[in-house]
Amino acid sequence: MALLEVRNLSKTFAGSPGVIDVNLSIQSGEIHALIGANGAGKSTLMKLLSGAYQGDQGEIYLNGQRVVIENPVHGKELGIHCVYQEVDTALVPSLTVGENLFLDCLPLIINWKTLFREAEEVLQKLNFPLDPKRKIDSLTLVEKQMVLLAKAFMQNAKIMIFDEPTAPLSGPETKILLQQICNLKEKGVGIIFISHRLQEVFALCDTLSVLRNGQLVLNRSVSATSPEVVVEAMFGEKRADGFVKKTASVGDPLLQANHLSDGGRVKDVTFQLRKGEILGIAGLVGAGKTELARLLFAASPRQQGDILWEGNPMYFSSPKQAIEAGFALVPEERRGEGLFVNESIRANLTLPILKTIAPWGWIRRQKEREHGQKIVDALSIKASHLEFPVERLSGGNQQKVVIGKWVGSDTKVLLLDEPTKGIDVQAKKELFYLLEELVAQGISIVYFTSEMDELAAISDTIYILYKGHITKKLGKEEMDPQTILYYASGGTNQDETDSA
């Protein structure tokens, strides 16, 4: 009898598929990988299992008994635990490991000796090398995750769901975490492991399921499949929504980045950007994309490496100087770093060119309006008037405002960090046409994303960023989402040598 069984589970949202008619079963002591592109329905399924969502149809069985999981607390009582990426929100940093383990069931008067002894026992049982007397804030990320695992285990977790647990971890840390997950498996816990990194999946998991557009398209034991099959299942024949890029003429080398490091996530990155090129940087969550984009823009300090502009070394140490040199950044956190949500479209759009419309500091209102209107028309930003607050625009139009800010200033290199995050299909298409127009005007674009199908559709060249390193360069002819994802999830060059 299966530990957890899901039968015909469906959950739909207005406009997006959610999860459709999913069947799944997990045995005690099994590690089951859940794989899918962004928006495939992984997190919806996870929320259905944890009780955060209620299914529209279908049933969930635990040990053969039908259960209706009312909310996450109820889910935990039934033994279903989720371990989210943000471990810090679930722990109290100023308390010890022991206290955190027993946080939900601390007695009125604490017997410290017993508390630490019992904590020690739990940790030993799981083979976790942790001192229960250490404070949480002195722990590394992977150690914090261990505390959460131990806590869930203590509370009789039968099913544990991991949401991309290894994304923020370094190589050695990942190894440690995977080892601990194996320890849990040996104790009979059923594990659902969500990850983009196929390498890990194939090393760790027993079975796997692939979701695409809310449907289960592959459900197999790991030994009976291969990374290539999985990647194909993830994307099917889908390409970036029918967008076909015109073949643009790419010009001479413009920018050469050599051995860039930021002392953290970005490690020894070298690439070349040509004039009028759309350069894709493909990487999964945690690969260091945002960090690399910020490094190029001098928004975070450069530890090592140099940047050559048409062969000449460039020196800049602040976003202001980067902008003067011709760079522009469209950050991933649109509301947090890109937009002035309380200001008008006009004020947002004209900020970088204030100098030119404000001789001696006095803003020429007429000129400002003309400039704003020109961009609104060129990008077809849908708003009734220029004074409209950007807060009330749709995600796609907000993104156009952020990009529009840099159109019409002296931008030569546009850095886009996950530009399609949170915008709908139509807006995505419009964005691609806009980018095509920009490169036709001679602007070069560096496009950072984990959406492999977008990269395949729009890039001239793709570099794969894996754990902070550039691991592969792909030319136009090798670009399909499967290949990109294969390398971005840590695939090696082996079959490249096969085909060569």
Binding site: P319, I323, E343, L354
Partner: protein, 329 residues
């Protein structure tokens, strides 16, 4: 229907309250609505309003300056003492006071922008430091004409008539400090609304990280905001000395509260929803009318703090309720 009513209230509520208070006092106090009394009100609010303009600057960049009251106190005794003790000419006196204000602003900015202390805590500490400097400098005495000095002699200088004119005189029948205030309100309004400088301050207040990534020099701009805050407080201090004709101890202490209240009342004037200098002016007017009218109704002065506190609470409530309502929709 309810929405439009609420929006109407948010937009015109503050002005309606001013109108209502004005009408009420005109009805309740016969002498209230006379030219003399109205200019008196304007004269008495001019100093608060000028200090409040400074506070507006710090709030625009999403900061705060609690030290303005102490700065007024320090510059008041500094101005008076430079004339009474050291017989300095007017130009030097005014320059020295403004310089002191600017230096305090620089120091605040250093603590907040460079060291990274949260604005409220940094300026709270500075409030006490400046207050202490003021008391130490005057050894706890107020400064006035021909005052006896610790060594037994009398002070050599006096506050000159041309200096007193700044605080007490009239030009075309309008009190001089009121003229100065009006010039400043217009000037700062233009600066904040129509110049690159003002726009950059606003954008920093709206989203500091986005401003940095748009190439705005956020550190120097925030520094400017605190320097302006200090400068306007110093100007308030100068006018205070000129108005009362002496350098009173802790003269600025009540001004912090009143100026902050004025700025927050200003948030809701014409539904601006953010710090703005026209709103600040009307905020100061409201507080001035209330204090003047209540004095005439013989409310004891020690109860005034209750009124001021309530005005601030009301203004904050309107502002933050509006923010919450906007978030929900």
């Amino acid at each position: 229907m309810k929405q439009t009513a609420l929006n109407f209230l948010y937009k015109y509520g503050a002005l309606l309250v001013i109108l209502f208070v004005l009408l009420y006092f005109s009805y309740a106090v016969p002498y209230f609505f006379t030219y003399d009394n109205l200019t008196d009100i304007l004269r008495s609010i001019s100093i608060v309003a000028i200090v409040a303009i400074g506070v507006t600057f710090s709030l625009i960049v999403d900061g705060f300056d609690l030290s303005v009251g102490s700065t007024v106190s320090l510059t008041t005794v500094l101005t008076a003492s430079l004339m009474v003790w050291y017989e300095q000419p007017l130009a030097i006196v005014i320059f020295a006071a403004l310089l002191a204000g600017a230096m305090i602003g620089l120091l605040n900015a250093f603590l907040i922008v460079k060291v990274g202390i949260p604005d409220l805590l940094a300026t709270l500490s500075m409030l006490y430091v400046i207050g202490g400097v003021q008391k130490t400098y005057t050894q706890g005495y107020s400064v006035y004409n021909k005052m006896p000095l610790p060594d037994g002699t009398t002070a050599p200088g006096v506050l000159s008539p041309s200096f007193l004119w700044l605080g007490q005189g009239k030009l075309f029948g309008v009190p001089v400090p009121v003229l100065i205030l009006i010039l400043l309100v217009v000037g700062v309004h233009l600066l904040l609304k129509y110049t690159r400088f003002g726009r950059m301050l606003h954008m920093i207040g709206s989203n500091q990280e986005a401003a940095r990534l748009s190439g705005i020099p956020i550190y120097s701009m925030r520094t400017w905001a605190y320097v302006f805050s200090g400068l306007f407080a110093a100007l308030g201090g100068i006018l205070f000395a000129a108005r009362v004709g002496s350098g009173q101890m802790d003269a600025g202490a009540p001004l912090l509260m009143e100026s902050v209240a004025a700025v927050f009342v200003g948030y809701s004037v014409l539904g601006a929803g953010k710090p703005n200098v026209i709103g600040t002016f009307f905020g100061a007017v409201l507080i001035g009318i209330l204090l003047n009218g209540l004095t005439m109704l013989n409310l004891p002065y020690y109860a005034f703090d209750i009124v001021k506190g309530l005005v601030l609470i009301l203004a904050l409530a309107v502002t933050y309720l509006h923010v919450r309502r906007k978030k929900r929709t």
